[in-house]
Structure formats: C-alpha cells, structure tokens
C-alpha cells in the first residue's frame, strides 16, 4: 500500500512535468510563428519608408538610367508607382465588376437550393475553382483573352484571370451569410404579397450585407497582391495605361520588375510596403464592416 502510493506520486510528478513542458512548447511554437510577420514588416518599413513621398503616388516608375544616376549620387530614386496604382485599380476594378455580381447571384442560388442536385454540382465546382493555382488562371487568361480578343497582353486578360480567382470566395461567403438569415424573414415579406425576386433583393440581400461585403473585400484583398497570373496576362507597362486592351502595370508587377533590375532595388521595399498597407487596410475594413454593419435579427 505504502510503496504503491509512493510510486504513483513520482509518476504523478512526471506526468505533471510532461504536461507543463507540453504547454510551454505549445505557447512557444505558436508565438514563434508570428516572428516572421514582424521580421517582414520590419524589413519593409526599414528599407521602404524613405522612398514613400508625394511623388511616389503620382509619378510613374523610373527607368534604369534615372535610377542609376540617383543611386550613384546617393539620392533617393526619383519617380513612383503611379502606373502600378492605376493599373491595379483598373485590373482589380474590372475583375470585381465581373466577379461580384456573378458571385453574389450564384451564392444566392446555392443558399436557396441547399439540397438541389445541380446546386450540389455547382458547389463542387466552386470548391474546385477555389483550389486552382493562380498561375494556371494566368494561362487561362492568356489563352482566353490575350490570344483571341485583345491580340496581345492586356489589362483585360489580367482582370479575367483575377475574376475567376476571386469568384469562389464571394460565392461561398454569400451562400454562408444568406443561409444564416432566418426563414421567417422571407415569410414575412412573402406574406405581404412581395414577389420572390423583390423579397430576395430587397429584404434578404440587405440583411446579409455585412457578410457579403466582408467576403467581397477579402476576395479583393486576395487578388490585389497577385503577381503570377498578371505576368502572363497584363505583362506590365512603363506608362500609365487606362486602355484595358493594352498591356498594363500593377503594383505587384512593379515589385517583380524592380526585383529583376539591380538599379531599382531600392524601389522594391517602398512598393511592397505600399502594397502591404493597401491589403492591410482592405482586411481591416472587412473586419470593421463585419462588425459594424452586422444586421441584427
């Protein structure tokens, strides 16, 4: 009796020690994972802040010669990323124009037909699209638009590729949001003799607005930083281009160009920092909207 309790005491202590070590390991590893984020942020801010001034926003990217001279004289490289900003706005804007209406309508379809056979097929397809690598969508944008429609690299081709990329998250967030809205709301509208389409568009959709908008903004933030598909479609442009049938620049494309040109290396960090801040703002506003516009029912 006595010995057995003594043995178990030692055992208990071992077990408790193990438990403690495991807990510390979990905490340590979890927080170690957040270190890269701060390293990246630190690197971007340290190296990038100097280049961000007013002309950064309205001047186009400098050419190699200008940059070389500036670096030689130990000056800040002149010029900015205006061509990238305009390009990103147009390409992402066009992609949103294609994907948002289609995504919301399809999400509504899926929410309204939770058990239908065809809806099941659509749901499966949307899941599949979500997993398609962005570079493959670049190839698709090239084959669908660059070759037959615009006859050359174009912003439009980039928009098509990115629109397919953002579509799944809009569809799924719309579906999930609308499914959460109680059926009684639909009944209330229909019992007032409101036709089905008006019920959906004017009662159900506005009630789900926060969830849908959050999905849309997250979709936009997901494509705003995409580089790979744009390399195969929009290609890049040294000047500000507003013609969607012509090659166009974009901020991530500029980062890639700066990276490949040793003279422009200093510009990489500011452009990346700007891109990251842009995406950060999009993510934060998605969170704020989810909280603030949440409809209470």
């Amino acid at each position: 009796m006595n010995t057995s309790t003594q043995i178990s005491k030692a055992k208990i202590n071992r077990r408790l020690l193990k438990d403690k070590l495991f807990t510390y390991a979990i905490i340590f590893l979890a927080f170690l994972s957040s270190v890269p984020l701060f390293l990246i942020l630190f690197e971007l801010i340290k190296k990038g802040y100097r280049q961000i001034n007013i002309s950064f926003f309205y001047k186009v990217a400098p050419d190699t010669m200008e940059a070389m001279v500036a670096v030689k004289n130990n000056e800040i490289i002149p010029g900015g990323i205006a061509n990238g900003i305009v390009g990103t706005l147009i390409i992402v804007g066009m992609a949103s124009l294609i994907a948002i209406p289609l995504g919301i309508i399809c999400g509504m379809y899926l929410a309204e037909n939770s058990k239908g056979k065809f809806a099941g097929v659509v749901r499966f397809i949307v899941d599949m699209l979500q997993g398609v690598p962005s570079i493959v969508l670049g190839v698709i944008g090239y084959i669908w638009v660059v070759k037959p429609i615009t006859g050359g690299f174009s912003g439009l081709a980039g928009s098509v590729a990115l629109s397919i990329m953002m579509l799944p998250s809009i569809v799924r967030s719309t579906e999930e949001t609308l499914k959460m809205i109680p059926d009684t709301l639909k009944e209330a509208a229909l019992s007032l003799g409101v036709p089905y389409h008006k019920t959906m568009l004017r009662v159900i959709l506005p009630s789900g607005i926060s969830g849908i908008l959050t999905g849309v903004i997250l979709g936009i933030s997901r494509i705003a930083g995409e580089t790979a598909p744009l390399m195969l479609t929009a290609l890049g442009s040294a000047a500000i281009s507003t013609d969607i049938t012509k090659p166009s620049s974009a901020i991530p494309l500029l980062v890639w160009e700066f990276y490949n040109d040793p003279n422009l290396v200093n510009m990489i960090w500011s452009a990346s920092l700007f891109l990251l801040i842009l995406i950060l703002i999009l993510n934060l506003s998605a969170k704020a909207i989810a909280k603030k516009w949440k409809v209470q029912y």
């Binding site: 077990r15 193990k18 438990d19 807990t23 390991a25 979990i26 905490i27 590893l29 979890a30 170690l32 994972s33 957040s34 890269p36 984020l37 390293l39 990246i40 690197e43 971007l44 289609l102 309508i105 399809c106 509504m108 379809y109 899926l110 309204e112 659509v122 949307v126 899941d127 599949m128 699209l129 997993g131 398609v132 690598p133 570079i135 493959v136 969508l137 670049g138 698709i140 084959i143 669908w144 579509l167 569809v171 036709p195 089905y196 389409h197 705003a224 930083g225 995409e226 790979a228 390399m231 290609l235 991530p252 980062v255 890639w256 990276y259 990489i268 891109l275 990251l276 995406i279 993510n283």
Partner: protein
C-alpha cells in the same frame, strides 16, 4: 410574374455559367496540351529532359513534378509543429482573451502578405542565413523555398485545426479530467483522436496551396531544370516553370507548358478533393 421568372433564370444561369467556366478551364488546358501529348505521350510525365534547343527540342515534366512535390511536402513538414501548436493554442488552451486575438490577427496578416513580398523577404533576409550556414552556395534551392512556403501556409494549416479542436465536446474532455488526466493527456487521448481527421484535412488543403504557390518559389528555388538530388539542391516547380518560361514560349514549348499547367491543375485538384472528402466525412 415575368420579372420573377427572369430572376429565377438568372439564379440558375449563374450556376450554369460557373459550371461552364470550370469546364472551359479544363477543356482549354486539355486542348492546349494536345500537341505536346501527341509528341511525347505519357513519356512527358516521366521524362526528365527539358531541352528547348531548336532542332533537338524535347520536354519532360518529371523534374518539375518532383520539385513541386518535394518542396511542398517539405514545407508541410516544417509547418506542422507550428500550425499544430497554433491550432491547440487557439482551439483549446487559450480560446478567448487578448493574446489569442493577437495571434489570430497575426495569422490573418500572414495570409494577407502577397507571395511576391514573401519572395523578397526570402531573397534578402533568409537567403544570406542559408548561405552562412553553408547549406547552399547561393542560398537558393528547395530548402529555402520550403521554409518560406511553410510560413505562407501556416494560416491555412492551422485554421481548420483550431476550429475542429474547439468543437471537441466539452463533456468528453470533462470525463477525461474527472479520471485525473492532465491536460496533455486530454490532448493525447481525447482531442487528437476526435479532431485528428479535421486537423489532417487542414494540412491536406494547405498542401494544395503550397503546390500551386508560384512567386515566392520562383524567386528562391534556383530554377534548375534537373531532378534535384537533395533538399539543399536547386530545383524548380511546375508553377514557377510556367511563370518563368511562358512569356516567350512558342510552338512545342508553349504546348508543353500548357500541359504542365494541366498536370498542376490535376494534382492540386486531386489533393484538394482528398482534403474536402476528409472534411465531408467529418461533418457527416
């Protein structure tokens, strides 16, 4: 009445359109790959020759398939202890409070950083360390890419895990505690058996992400067209091969790249499908 009908057609039409987009993607890749398939047949998959020299053109996907799989599986292995710790931290140990919400924001932000920025960081910050350690002369290669990929997929690998862990019924855990189990033992005997397949599904989906990732890998892997001989060797993945060579490609090279794209599409599709299948079994 009429606009009601139009609306219903619009709803179904959107579904039909999405199905057509997906079928269109598959058909486009297949059609684009036909010339390459006619030339090389199934040998394309296991040939390791990538030779664009005019007159002796020959293309095979093996180095890139191997490069892709090695890079992403290695990334998953590296990410595992971190993602698992985060899942447990957020799903079991500290569900509410300031620290976990801080960690959640960090993970959200990690997911938001563009691939090209990860690539830059890997190039300028990580590569010198790899060189200093003497793992690779220039610091490029599969290992470097895998580390960056591992960081990139942490959010995807951990989020599903923390969700399923937090859904393990409290009554089960209480039963184990009431028998005198420590928290570690509860994790081992209750949480992992109950949430294991969900955690695993999360890793599979993260693997799918890693396989398709392009920019960061392109900037770090060294872009060699040989089969890599080890994890510190240079290599190339399917996605970064397309990114690097698609622009100026024509003729046989172009269609071979499209076939690589098709293979990449199929591999990610299968991986994601397996992940979704596990998830579905879980919810059923």
């Amino acid at each position: 009445m009429n606009s009601e009908k139009i609306f219903r057609y619009l709803l179904i039409g959107s579904g039909v359109l999405i199905v057509f987009i997906a079928l269109g993607i598959i058909a486009t890749l297949f059609v684009g790959a036909i010339p390459s398939f006619k030339e090389f047949g199934f040998g394309f998959i296991y040939s390791s020759d990538w030779n664009p020299t005019q007159g002796r053109e020959s293309y095979g996907a093996l180095p890139f398939i191997i490069g892709t799989l090695v890079t992403s599986i290695l990334a998953l292995l590296i990410t595992f202890p971190f993602a698992f710790s985060i899942s447990l931290f957020l799903g079991e140990y500290f569900k509410n409070g300031k620290l976990p919400s801080f960690l959640r924001s960090v993970i959200d932000l990690l997911a938001g950083i563009p691939s090209v920025v990860y690539g830059l960081w890997g190039f300028y910050a990580l590569r010198p360390i790899i060189t200093d350690l003497g793992l690779n002369a220039q610091g490029f290669g599969i290992f470097t890419s895998s580390i960056v990929l591992a960081i990139m997929i942490i959010p995807y690998a951990s989020s599903l895990g923390s969700e399923v862990i937090s859904m393990v019924p409290g009554s089960l855990k209480e039963a184990a505690y009431s028998l005198g189990a420590t928290r570690f033992e509860v994790v081992k005997t209750v949480i992992i058996p109950n949430a294991g397949s969900g955690i695993f599904a999360g890793y599979i989906l993260a693997l799918g992400r890693a396989i398709g990732e392009t920019m960061a890998v392109t900037m770090l892997i060294g872009n060699s067209n040989r089969i890599p001989t080890g994890i510190f060797d240079l290599g190339n993945t399917m996605a970064s091969l397309i990114a690097n060579q698609f622009g100026e490609a024509e003729g046989l090279k172009y269609t071979s790249l499209v076939e690589i794209g098709l293979l990449l599409f199929i591999i990610t599709g299968v991986v994601n499908y397996i992940g979704k299948l596990i998830m579905k079994k879980l919810s059923a």
